[in-house]
Every structure is written in C-alpha cells, then in structure tokens.
C-alpha cells in the first residue's frame, strides 16, 4: 500500500484534481501562503496557540458520543462526533482559528470570507473579534434570507456582511465576490476560505486544520472500543471540510470505509440538486480543478439544496479524487430524506442537527450495516440556524 495516496501532493494535486487555476492577480497572495503555510503550521508556537485556542476557546476535544437510541434503531454501533458543540456551533471554527493565526503570522490586518449557511461567516467573524481584526463576509442574498440568525450573529460580532447579488445568489457567488475583494486588496488582506476548496494550498491547509476531528476520533474510539479504527466514517459533503477532517487520518487505511453524503436536493435528476459527484464533470471552479456541476458548455450550474451549506456546485479536490478512485462511497440524499433524518435525530437523541448534517443521518435507508459495525458520523453542526426551515417544513 502506497502511503498518502489520498493526500495532496506538493503542487496541490489529489490525483488529477486540485492545483491552482487562478488569475495572476491572485498569484502573490496564494504564493505567499503556499510558500509559508507548512512552515508556519510546523512552528511550535503556532501549534501551541492553535491547540490552546481549540481547547480553551473552541471547547475541544469535542465528545465522541455513543448514540444508544440511534444504534438500537439501526442495529449498528453508532458514534457521533460532536462538532455541534464547538464554539459557534459547527466544525467551521477549527479552520478559522487556524487561518486567523496564519493571517497574523503573515502580517495581515484585514480578513474576508465567503459563507453559505453562515456558519463559516460566523466562525470567521468570531475569530476576527477575538483578534481585533477587520472582517468582511460575503454571503449570497438567498442565503442571507434563509440563514437570518447567522447574519445577526455576524453583525453582533462586528463583521460587515456584504450581499452577493449575482448568479444564484448563494455560496458560489459569495465566493466569487470574496475572490474579487481579494484581488482588489492583495497586500493587507487574508482570505479565509471556509472549506477544502479554492486554489492550492487552501484545500490542503483547511484539511490539515480540520484533521483534528479524526485525530480525536482515533484516541476517543480507542478509549471506548479498544481500537482506533471504526468500520465507517461518515460525513456530509458541501465543499468537504468537515468530511476531510473526519476522514483525514483514515484516508490511507483502507480498512476504514469512507462514506460521503451529498445533497440531492429535490432528487439527483430533478434539475434541482447539488449532488456534485453524481452530476459533476471535471472542471475549474474557484481556482481548483475538481468535479463540477456545469452545462455542456462549461457554464457553472446553479445548484439547489434546502441546506445552504451544501448548496455548492463543486466539491473539494480531495473528494473528487476519493470519488474517482472509488475510495469513498458517495450517497446522495434528498431534501425530504434529510429533513426526516434531522427530526429523527432530534427526537431520538435530543440533538437538533444542522440540515447539512442531517443529510449524513439519512444513509440508513441506502446502506445496510452489520450489528457490530462501528460507524462514526460527524455531527458537523447544530441546527439552531435552521430552526425556521425545520419549523416551516414540518409545520411545527
């Protein structure tokens, strides 16, 4: 077995995917990052501050919780990795803590970010408040409407939320706007991308910051089950950052099955979907070669999902590679399936998941497991931001 088959190579490629397809205007910014990120991340004082903030500020380690009632229902040993308990309510903050420290090391004073569900925007606004940095968050107009609580949170935290009014007015368009801002502010600004997308070195850097998730799963599972390796790790995939973190330390251990859950929206073939692996072809989005939903003509398609955080037409290059290589099992879950799963988890375990996460709980109608299979599902975020959507959907 060759090691590191599923990690980025030096040039930021995962198999045929990845790289840095960026306008020259962005070259200095990404180059500065590329040349420094591994060195900075390796510095003891960086690691110390990163770890200390993850512990004292974010609340890590997050628990690995044995979900008794879910396990009984689906006849398997189901563990939940509780990223919903992170400060700000999702895994996103692992990455923003890392990147804000990176930005400080690089001498930046201004932070920009894009956001879909608003979780990454909140996580970015949070670390900017913590470090006293200026913060501008781009967010699609549609998402601003459907994720109002997170917009409010960003404002409370002192961030400016700028609406993206082009295209589908969702995550992809917010990302375009953020990139434009970065082009216009190449010297003092660091762009905190919120997932394992974008040009090299972002996918690798973000994956490394999120890797703390599987780092913890390993020793936590060892404590609980006497072994580090579950039979399956499961995560929802929007851009793919929570999934990357969940899989990271298991990527090259083929004993561990990898399940990636995408948003089928109203159905993979309905024309209103965000199931990138099923619907995508190789293409370039936001500086990265990856699987991409697009027209035959290469225009990027407007995706659809009830969950703002999965409503993205691409997927991180790591995941494109996991799909193409067959390393991961991709499952597409519809809006309806996800919503039902979200309600089920709420009422069985007392945990209201983010709608993104709810997709990951809907796999049990699609795959069967053995009673002694150990399944770790990453509970990437809490559903507070989605209450209105749940309420409207279920007419509660």
């Amino acid at each position: 077995m060759k090691m590191n088959r599923y990690q980025a190579d030096e040039r930021g490629y995962y198999g045929e995917f990845g790289g840095a397809f960026i306008p020259e205007m962005l070259y200095p910014n990404t180059e500065e990052l590329r040349q420094n990120y591994l060195r900075i991340m390796g510095e003891p004082d960086f690691q110390e501050e990163f770890r200390q903030l993850l512990r004292d500020y974010v609340g890590r380690p997050t628990p690995l919780y044995f979900a008794k009632r879910l396990s009984e229902k689906f006849k398997a040993r189901i563990y939940l990795k509780r990223e919903d308990l992170c400060h700000t309510g999702a895994h996103k903050v692992n990455n923003t803590i890392g990147q804000i420290l990176m930005a400080k090391k690089l001498g930046k004073s201004r932070i920009i970010a894009e956001t879909g569900a608003g979780q990454h925007g909140v996580a970015t606004a949070t670390v900017c408040a913590l470090m006293g940095m200026e913060c501008i968050v781009y967010m699609g107009e549609v998402d601003i409407a459907r994720q109002a609580p997170n917009v409010a949170r960003m404002k409370m935290l002192g961030a400016e939320v700028r609406p993206a009014r082009s295209g589908s007015r969702t995550l992809k368009d917010a990302t375009n706007e953020a990139i434009r801002d970065w082009i216009n502010n190449p010297v003092n600004t660091h762009y905190i991308i919120g997932s394992v997308v974008g040009p090299h070195p972002y996918p690798d850097m973000v994956a490394r910051f999120q890797a703390v998730i599987s780092e913890e799963i390993k020793w936590q599972l060892k404590e609980k089950e006497g072994k580090e390796d579950p039979d399956y790790v499961v995560a929802c995939v929007g851009g793919g950052s929570n999934a990357a973190g969940t899989y990271y330390h298991y990527l090259d251990n083929e004993q561990v099955g990898i399940i990636a859950v995408e948003a089928a929206g109203k159905g993979v073939d309905s024309g209103e979907s965000a199931a990138t692996s099923a619907l995508g072809k190789v293409g370039i989005i936001h500086g990265s070669k990856t699987l991409l939903m697009q027209t035959g003509d290469g225009q990027i398609t407007e995706p659809y999902s009830i969950s703002a955080g999965l409503d993205y037409p691409g997927v991180g290059p790591m995941h494109a590679h996991l799909y193409k290589s067959g390393r991961a099992d991709f499952i597409a879950i519809t809006d309806d399936e996800a919503m039902a799963a979200g309600l089920m988890v709420s009422q069985l375990e007392g945990i209201i998941p983010a709608i993104e996460t709810s997709h990951a709980f809907a796999i049990f109608d699609h795959r069967t497991f053995k009673p002694d299979d150990i399944i770790v599902i990453n509970l990437s975020g809490r559903g507070d931001k989605d209450l209105q959507t749940y309420i409207d959907y279920f007419k509660l």
Partner: protein, 256 residues
Amino acid sequence: MNRIQEKMRSGHKLLSIYFTAGYPKLEDTVPVIEALDEAGVDMIEIGLPFSDPLADGPTIQASSTAALKNGMHTELLFRQLKGIREKTDIPLIIMGYFNPVLQYGVEAFCKKCREVGIDGLILPDLPLDVYQEEYEPLFKANGLLNVFLITPQTPNERIRKIDEGSDGFIYMVSSASTTGARDGFGPEQRAYFERIHSMGLKNPQIVGFGISNADTFAQATTHAHGAIIGSAFIKMLTEDGKTGIAPFIRSIRKSP
C-alpha cells in the same frame, strides 16, 4: 508572423478594445467587431462569457450574464466568427475563463480558433506552469499566442519568467483591482509603469484595467505599447449602442 506580433511592431500606441461576445444582442458580436475595426482600433478582445467571471468587475460581469441569457455559447461564437477574416485583418483575441475551454476540449478549441482566424487567447485562470506543462504545444500548433497578465504585485522574478514564456505581449494589469473604470492613475501606478518599463522586457506591454478615456489612455501608454479598454467600452455600449462606438473611439484617440 502572427497578426498580433505584426501589430506590436507599429510605432504608435495601440488601442485595444474588450467587449463581450453576444452583447448587447446575441447577433452583435460581428457587427461590434466591424464597427471597432472601422473606428480604427488596433486590436480586439472578444470576451467569451462565463457564468462566474471572478476576475471581472460588475460591468463586465453584467454583460457576461446578459450574453449568456441571450444564448451565447462557445460553439455559437465560433459560428458567428466564421468568415470574419474575409472582413477584417485586425488582431483578434478571445478572452475568457478556462472552464468553458476545458469543456469544449482544449485541442478542439485551439483548432477552431485557427479555423476562424483567432490570433491569441487570454485565459486569466490558466496559470503559466499548467499552460507550459500541458497546453503550449497545442497553442503553438494552432498559431495561437497565449497572453499572460502581470500586476503591481507580481515579483520581478516572475515577470521575467512570464516574459520568457510569452511571445505576443504582456497584459499589464494597471492596479490590483478587478476591472472597472477608474478616475485616473496615481503615483503608485506611475511608479509601477516605470518599473516595468525599466525592466526592458522582450515582450511589449499592453496596459489593462482602469482605462476609460483619452487621459487615462495617455497615462497608461506613456511607457507601455498600448492599452486595453473594457468596462468603459461596455458601459458606453450599454448606454449608447453600436452607434456610439465610433465617437467613443475618437474620444480616446484625440490627444488630451
């Protein structure tokens, strides 16, 4: 020798115009080219519209969205351009994002360009190294010059590398900014223009981004070989239509 290279040899300051194919109307591509040619511009960049033009400002972005709505697509552009060389000899460059080219097939795309008489490509998100590793032979085989950008932040070392890898001209982005009309150039930009000039690059430099009138054209071309107008032209086209083309070009050409 390629039409672009030939044009670069001419003594005067070159005026190049960018417009979006299929804008304002789907069938306007060729008429706009003809009108620009007639008005005496030196070079034309035909924008292949893209859904997610992340290096463009709001004006060009809006024109791309409109062109796509009009029904513009790659194959259609080639169909429209078929026979253009019977009408004009002006250097024609297609400017677009890499993804539509990739979907068309890079080789097929290059071949089509040659067929219709395109002289060069500007694909801002196709970086130099990927181009050189994977696509240069294809471009060369089809007589296409690939144009690279430099910005005020591009390190000298990299500028040399880009100069090395280019053989048409260098697209010199005037300032760190997505495209969009500006009021004029400040001391920083002028220092940048001078710095690049003093590097003595082998390729001529054409300045782009922020040129909107005779004034900024003159400033941009003090040292450089020419300049590209994009957003300001599109804005005019949106407001005045094709009949505004000749007066607009005249207004740029007249010495300030």
